[in-house]
Amino acid sequence: MELRPILSTLRRHKITAWLLVLEIALTCAIVCNAVFMIGQRLERMDLPSGIAEHELVQIGLGHIGNSPDAIAQSQTDLAALRQIPGVQQVAVINQLPFSNGGSSNSGIRLSPEQQQDTLEASTYYGEGVLPTLGLHLLEGRDFRHDEYADFGTVIADLRNGDLKNLPSTIIVTRALAERLWPGKDALGQTLYVGKGLPFRVIGVVADLARPNNLNWGVGYSTVWPIRMTVADGSSYVIRTAPQDRDAVLKAAVAALKQLDPNRVVLVKRTYDEARHAFFANDRAMAGILVGVIVALLTVTVLGIVGLASFWVGQRRRTIGVRRALGATRGDILRYFQTENFLLASFGIVLGMALAYGINLFLMMHYELPRLPGIYFPVGALVLWAIGQLAVLGPALRAAAVPPVVATRAV
């Protein structure tokens, strides 16, 4: 295909050609970044929690006025919940991965002399966290029954400065172990909380994501041998078969209400619902971005079709002359396809530079990582294909112009 006639025609329509190139460039830049952001959101929504997500339900209770003996009541509640058919495990746990609201975290240090915390780890409390949440223990062991201390007792001991009865063991995630002691075995290591409270690592679990503040490190979590009650703001977490969840949730709420009607149910949901709610914003944003991409490509395609149609209409006579001089339909078709290919190529080159610039801007202001290189060739191919398809209709119409047009006055 001879490029020179195309280029010289384009030179005569410089402004229009440049407008089209600019439009393709902007589309290319925005679409590349939008697709990238969608990928980021999907990746976030796909983060592993490390727990048996489809087997858990959660019930949170609030008590009217001052609660009675919370520990005794928790024991009664737990016993009643275990009686419900289908219930496999029950625990009182202070928080769950990927859930909105407050979260419990603690600064971790590697030595008692350290001035600043190494990192903020999320802290999971509750008896039976591992079997209930279905955490995968990689090495070491779970807490023994006699290692647990009551939350109230721990608080009282801290108040009195009586540190000898405090728990001294802890279970950490693999991510945290690798961050604190890279290349070493975490089992038996000691970490420090606050001003030098030591905890010995007795177990490492595969994954356990933190509730929120994900930018502090999604997988930096710890499990402590501290027994909770609902009065401490914790909730009942029940593990059951996925198909029994609704029935178990209903029966559990009824049982708890029956034990003490003076309570309100603040939270009542399956874990899947909790996770769904946590990522709702990301899902919505991904949806918006998909909408933007579709709208952008539509407008650009319509723009290409519109301009190409115009050019075809304008050049009807020239096309007729060319056909009369022996150009085949294929030649005319190829002419318009090549013209579009050239314009798209200019647009893509410009657009890629722009995409890179926009990405730099987003990296500065929105904590987005660098655009991976693969986006450039893929984006180029997609835009070329879209351009060729868009121009096909007008090009076919051009090819259908009969040679006899050349002999007529318009």
Partner: protein, 430 residues
């Protein structure tokens, strides 16, 4: 003459309907998305309390002990009870209130117990934040001092518990405790909830208001962030090393604000002399808009969406420029005849702009419909601000202004080119 241009423009637009539809669609899509995102931005970054936003000041200070203090770190949002009570006691501002969010479970006269959101604060809170009373009145400063068992409830809770009507004097039951209702609020929603952003930035205001002293007496549970720098058995104790109270001061004139700032500097200096810490300390006194700005209340996703939409509008405009240009130049024959018959360049230019403006106005009307649709979608999003997003008159007029402006801008270059068509050449080439 203008009417004639409009007539010409209508004819020209009708002649090529597909192309006109394409241009209108492009402008409508661009305007629709831009106005949707700009409306969200406009609502979220608006002034929640325009009448008083320059007189209400958030007071923050850094009184960390030396081993917790890091130079250059941001001043904490909340205050310790010790400092809040000292400032309240001095009462140097026109009005002042320390406060915390809380949650309570109340027992209605009949029916199930109910979890409600509460705010524990002082008597000044209501006049400070312009909370209107439908019935009754706020509690008094004496009630604050005495820890009186009183409460103010929202209109919605009054409806729910007591079936509306004047419920002052009735008792709000919480198990074996009771609070006497002294006031019922009228419509009062602050969005964003600037006085305490830590507990949901947008949403309905609290349902129950209780004196802080009473809440402390009854050990009512607080919510929001509590940040202790040392182990604290009871983070709400009078001298606990915990930050959990929001502090606001009303200062009616800039002179008073300056004086108050000096007072705060002085307070910090006294604390240092008393040996609490040896670092210089930090004091922040920010009015409502400064405070909202510092906290970055507009979610970053919303900002991103505005950029996206503006980029989209840019592409739609480029599209329109291209199509208008092609259209005008294709009519060079007709334009040449008009020029030959005596139309001035200016007349051709204006006529082309009128045509572009008409496309803009029609596109703006469709864009408005699209923005309405977009806002319905926004309201169905799972964000906490979703329900407050609505279009006001300013944004409505803004839509048309943006549509007209952008279409005229798009028409500028094509009209310029059209007016420079050489009449003789144009007629001859036909």
């Amino acid at each position: 003459m203008f009417g004639y241009y409009i007539d010409l423009a209508t004819r020209s637009l009708k002649r090529n309907r597909a192309l006109t539809a394409l241009m209108v669609l492009a402008i409508a899509l661009g305007i629709g998305t831009s106005m949707t995102t700009l409306t969200v931005m406009h609502v979220l970054s608006g002034d929640p309390i325009p009448a008083k936003s320059a007189q209400l000041f958030r007071v923050r200070m850094n009184v960390f002990p030396d081993d917790t203090f890091t130079q250059g770190k941001e001043t904490p949002d909340n205050m310790t009870r010790r400092d809040a009570e000292a400032l309240l006691h001095d009462a140097r501002a026109d009005r002042q209130a320390a406060m915390s969010a809380g949650s309570m479970v109340v027992t209605p006269p009949q029916g199930e117990p109910l979890g409600v959101e509460a705010r524990y604060t002082g008597a000044d809170f209501f006049p400070m934040f312009g909370a209107p009373f439908r019935y009754g009145h706020a509690w008094s400063r004496d009630d604050d001092a005495a820890g009186a068992r009183v409460a103010v409830i929202s209109g919605a809770l009054n409806e729910q518990l007591f079936g509306g009507g004047d419920s002052t004097g009735k008792t709000l039951r919480m198990g074996d405790q009771g609070l006497r209702v002294v006031g019922v609020l009228g419509d009062w929603d602050m969005n964003p909830r600037f006085y305490d952003l830590s507990n949901g930035q947008f949403g309905d205001s609290e349902q129950v208001f209780v004196p802080l002293s009473t809440a402390l007496d009854l050990k009512l549970s607080t919510s929001g962030s509590t940040n202790c720098w040392n182990s604290a058995p009871d983070p709400h104790a009078a001298s606990a090393p915990c930050l959990w109270l929001q502090y606001w001061a009303e200062l009616d004139t800039p002179a008073k604000a300056a004086a108050y700032r000096r007072y705060l500097d002085n307070y910090i200096a006294l604390q240092r002399q008393a040996g609490r810490f040896s670092h210089p300390g930090q004091v922040e006194l920010q009015d409502v808009m400064q405070w909202l700005d510092a906290k970055g209340v507009v979610p970053s996703d919303v900002r991103l969406q505005v950029w996206l939409a503006l980029g989209f509008l840019g592409i739609c405009l480029l599209n329109t420029v291209g199509l208008l240009l092609a259209k005008f130049l294709r009519r060079s024959g007709e334009l040449g005849v008009r020029r030959a018959l005596g139309a001035s360049r200016r007349a051709i230019f204006l006529q082309c702009l009128v045509e572009a403006g008409m496309v803009g106005l029609v596109g703006g009307a469709f864009g408005l419909a699209l923005a309405g649709l977009g806002l319905v979608l926004v309201r169905h999003q799972p964000t906490d601000y979703a329900t407050f997003i609505h279009m006001d008159l300013r944004m409505l007029l803004g839509t048309f202004a943006l549509a007209l402006l952008s279409s005229l801008l798009a028409g500028l270059l094509p009209a310029w080119r059209a007016m420079h068509v050489a009449p003789a050449a144009a007629i001859k080439s036909n």
